[in-house]
């Protein structure tokens, strides 16, 4: 067995275990930490697939920024206690069953698709920063710039929603 295969199975197991941890743990803090583990595992997958740029971005954006944001929010609101009320057991059952059914259906459908056994190419350079950067700034420069506008509006939106309702107080 090649090293990449071993790594694949290891990272997959890690990702799935982390994902289960996310939904299973009662404490949100643990959930966040599990999710970080999942993200790291996915980044590992990216590296395995020779997509280094995305791996790094994934770690920086997701594991670094977004998860820290989550942690901040949880800690600020002091939610680490297990305050979550118990959801209706039937709803839980229904959720689990439907989710599992969806998984089975999709797996069963895709397992026999004719392209399922295509072997992935290894050792290409398209995932490297150079080629992606060229594509990004040659062909996708306009969406890239527009995404900055998106960020700006998200920022403004977040501030507007998150700040105290001063507008009503002034009135």
């Amino acid at each position: 067995m090649e090293i990449t295969h071993i790594l694949f199975w290891f990272l997959s197991a890690l990702a799935i275990a982390g994902a289960i941890g996310v939904i299973a743990s009662k404490n949100p803090i643990y959930s966040v930490l599990c999710l970080v583990i999942v993200f790291f595992a996915i980044s590992g997958h990216y590296i395995l697939m020779n997509a280094q740029f995305l791996a790094i971005v994934n770690i920086i954006v997701y594991a670094g920024a977004i998860m820290v944001l989550f942690l901040f929010v949880i800690m600020l609101m002091n939610l680490n206690a297990e305050t979550e009320p118990v959801k209706n057991i039937y709803m839980k059952m229904a959720g689990v069953i439907s989710g599992l059914t969806l998984m089975i259906v999709l797996v069963a459908a895709l397992a026999h698709s004719e392209n399922a056994n295509v072997v992935m190419r290894a050792g290409t350079s398209i995932g490297l920063t150079e080629s992606l950067g060229k594509a990004l700034f040659n062909n996708y420069v306009v969406p890239f710039e527009i995404s900055s506008v998106l960020f700006l509006s998200a920022m403004i939106g977040a501030i507007l929603i998150g700040k105290k309702d001063s507008a009503t107080e002034i009135k």
């Binding site: 959801k87 709803m91 439907s98 969806l102 259906v105």
Partner: protein, 640 residues
């Protein structure tokens, strides 16, 4: 200018009168309305006379005038067309002539009405004449059917003219429904004809050169028997034959001149006209003719028996109309078409006269119609008395009045067919003489049996009412000379000669055996003598009428019109009504309403339940979304 080209004016003028009187019923004064109403009919009459002369001139052939396409669908072309021939022109004269006299009479008779009621009355009357003219002028069965329905409608409107009285409305409805039953037969016959021949035009069907029916020679083919029977059902309804006759006596609910119009000039003669018009068709179906004769004879006798014991002056006349119509159908049934038309004509004269005179009596009695409360009116109302007497002589068939000749012609044709028909028919004639003289005697002779107040008011009617009576009396007295039998004058039967082109073709199929002249003479003399004896007997019996209480069962049954109305009520109306109630309760309320309401309730309930899904909870929305996704995937991926 050719009179035939102006034929469209004949029905147009009454229509114009209808429109003017109908729209101006509140604006025009009564005299103007009366004048317009009568004048348009008079002008039509003058045109009809002109047309009559044009038709009777040498070398006249049947004219077919097509105006526009009335129905034009795929292969079916039904033009709006008029056909003018001898039969049409005779009917035109009867309708407009007698109609005009009735209009003039009405001006005086209806003067008590309010202004708008008066206008309404005259507009209906004009419309009635218009419809009847369309009926006889129409060049195909569809146009005839327009008029056919038109008279049905007008009879409904006029019978229910005093619609504030519920009984009148019921009578009007009865007339309408009975007519509808007949109309159904007519309609089916038309459909059958269209599907069989693709046309309903007389010209195409009966043209003597290349008519579709004329070319046929198979006798009693199923289709023709069917068509003729269905047409006869229509005639039954319109001309009040058993079993659809009950509306006619009830139609007395309308004003008396209307009864005169319905009974004499229009409406009831429509059935006769239709069969006479289709004589070629009928002559190909002797089976139907036998049915026609049988029903005609049965009606003639049955109605005459009922008339024996009626005490309402108009009811007696109504049953006598039914009975006389029966004679006409008997005439048609034995193939004596021209005799039937002749009887239509004489009947129009004396029946109009009888009704108008009865109207005069009722007018004088202040609305009283019961003859047991009359008596001795002869002294007070000389003109009415004399004219009524002439009409009675005419209807009873006493020579030489009009009814004698026409009835005799029918009866002798019946004798040629079978002596049994003759004897039965003659029995009916005796009954006719009896009840008519009973009516005469009870009304005009003896002591006055009404209230003193009524006696005080007794008076002769004004000239506008008596003049038409006199004219009609003259016609009733001498109208019969148009159809003198061979026996008296060689080639004396003018009407038969005149109408012979119309009935020429059917003579191939119907052979009327010549009755030996001696036999005919004996029959004539015997029948006349018998009728006169019966008349005198009835006259004497009822001259000094006094109400008697004793009644045996038969008399009671006759008095109650053999309970036919009650039987119809029990056999048709009640089961129908209970069936309707049943259907209403079970099918309509439970079934159809159940379905309709059930759909509504289901939707309502379903939405009520579905509303619960809109809990507003994100979790349940998510769950539903996933389930939906799942279903879509399953459909997409596993159903190929």
């Amino acid at each position: 200018m050719d009179a035939i080209q102006l034929i469209y004016l004949v029905p147009l003028l009454p229509l114009l009168g209808f429109i003017i009187n109908g729209l101006g019923r509140n604006a025009l004064s009564k005299s103007v309305t009366g004048f317009i109403g009568s004048a348009v009919i008079f002008l039509s009459f003058c045109l009809s006379v002109w047309i009559f002369f044009a038709v009777s001139s040498e070398g006249f052939t049947t004219q077919n005038i097509s105006y526009f396409n009335f129905i034009d669908v795929y292969k079916l072309h039904i033009p709006f067309e008029f056909q003018v021939d001898q039969l049409t022109s005779v009917f035109l004269l009867i309708i407009t002539g007698v109609g005009f006299l009735i209009h003039v009479y009405s001006v005086s008779y209806m003067k008590e009405e309010s202004q708008s009621g008066f206008g309404r009355y005259f507009s209906y009357l004009n419309l009635f004449v218009f419809s009847m003219l369309i009926l006889v002028l129409g060049g195909n069965y569809v146009i005839m059917f327009i008029g056919w329905e038109g008279v049905g409608l007008c009879s409904y409107l006029l019978i229910g003219f005093w619609f504030k009285d519920h009984a009148n409305n019921n009578a009007a409805k009865k007339a309408f429904v009975m007519n509808r039953i007949g109309d159904m037969g007519f309609l089916l016959a038309m459909f059958w004809m269209v599907s069989l021949y693709g046309t309903v035009s007389y010209h195409d069907l009966y043209n003597s050169d290349n008519g579709i029916i004329t070319a046929l020679s198979t006798i009693n083919s199923h289709a023709i028997v069917g068509i003729t029977l269905l047409l006869f059902v229509g005639a039954m309804g319109k001309s009040a034959q058993i079993p659809l006759y009950t509306w006619l006596p009830d139609a007395m609910a309308g004003p008396t001149p209307v009864s005169a119009l319905i009974h004499a000039a229009t409406m009831v003669t429509a059935g006769i006209y239709m069969i006479a018009r289709s004589n070629i068709l009928y002559s190909l179906a002797p089976a139907t003719l036998a049915v026609v004769a049988g029903i005609g004879l049965a009606t003639a006798i049955f109605a005459a028996i009922i008339a024996l014991k009626q005490n309402d002056i108009k009811k007696v006349l109504a049953y006598s109309t039914v009975s006389q119509l029966g004679y006409m159908f008997l005439g048609l049934g034995v193939g004596a078409f021209s005799a039937a038309v002749f009887h239509v004509m004489t009947h129009a004269f004396f029946k109009a006269l009888l009704f108008l005179a009865a109207g005069s009596v009722i007018h004088a009695m202040g609305g009283e119609q019961d003859i047991t409360k009359m008596g001795g009116l002869g002294k007070k109302m000389k003109i009415t008395y004399v004219t009524f007497f002439i009409a009675t002589l005419a209807i009873s068939g006493i020579p030489p009045f009009a009814g004698f000749f026409s009835k005799d012609e029918i009866l002798s044709a019946a004798f040629a067919q079978s002596p049994v028909l003759y004897i039965l028919g003659f029995g009916g004639a005796l009954l006719t003489a009896f009840y008519m003289f009973r009516l005469m005697a009870m009304t005009f002779k003896g002591k006055f049996r009404g209230t003193p107040e009524q006696e005080h008011h007794l008076h002769e009617s004004p000239a506008a009412m008596t003049v038409p009576l006199i004219i009609l009396a003259i016609l009733s007295a001498f109208g019969g000379f148009l159809g003198l039998p061979e026996l008296f004058v060689n080639d004396g039967n003018e009407i038969d000669k005149f109408l012979s082109p119309v009935f020429e073709h059917s003579k191939q199929f119907i052979i009327i055996k010549e009755v030996p002249q001696q036999t005919e003479l004996i029959l004539l003399v015997v029948s006349s003598v018998l009728i006169i004896i019966v008349s005198i007997w009835a006259w004497n019996k009822y001259k000094k009428y006094a109400p008697s209480v004793s009644e045996n069962g038969l008399v009671k049954a006759i008095k109650n019109k053999f309970y036919v109305d009650e039987i119809y009520d029990a056999v048709f109306v009640r089961p129908y009504r209970s069936l309707s109630t049943f259907l209403n309760n079970v099918f309509d309320k439970r079934g159809i309403d159940g379905i309709v309401n059930g759909v509504g309730k289901t939707v309502n309930y379903g939405s009520r339940q579905l509303r619960l899904l809109q809990s507003g909870q994100v979790g349940s929305y998510l769950l539903l979304m996933v389930i939906g996704l799942l279903i879509l995937f399953i459909i997409q991926l596993f159903t190929k």
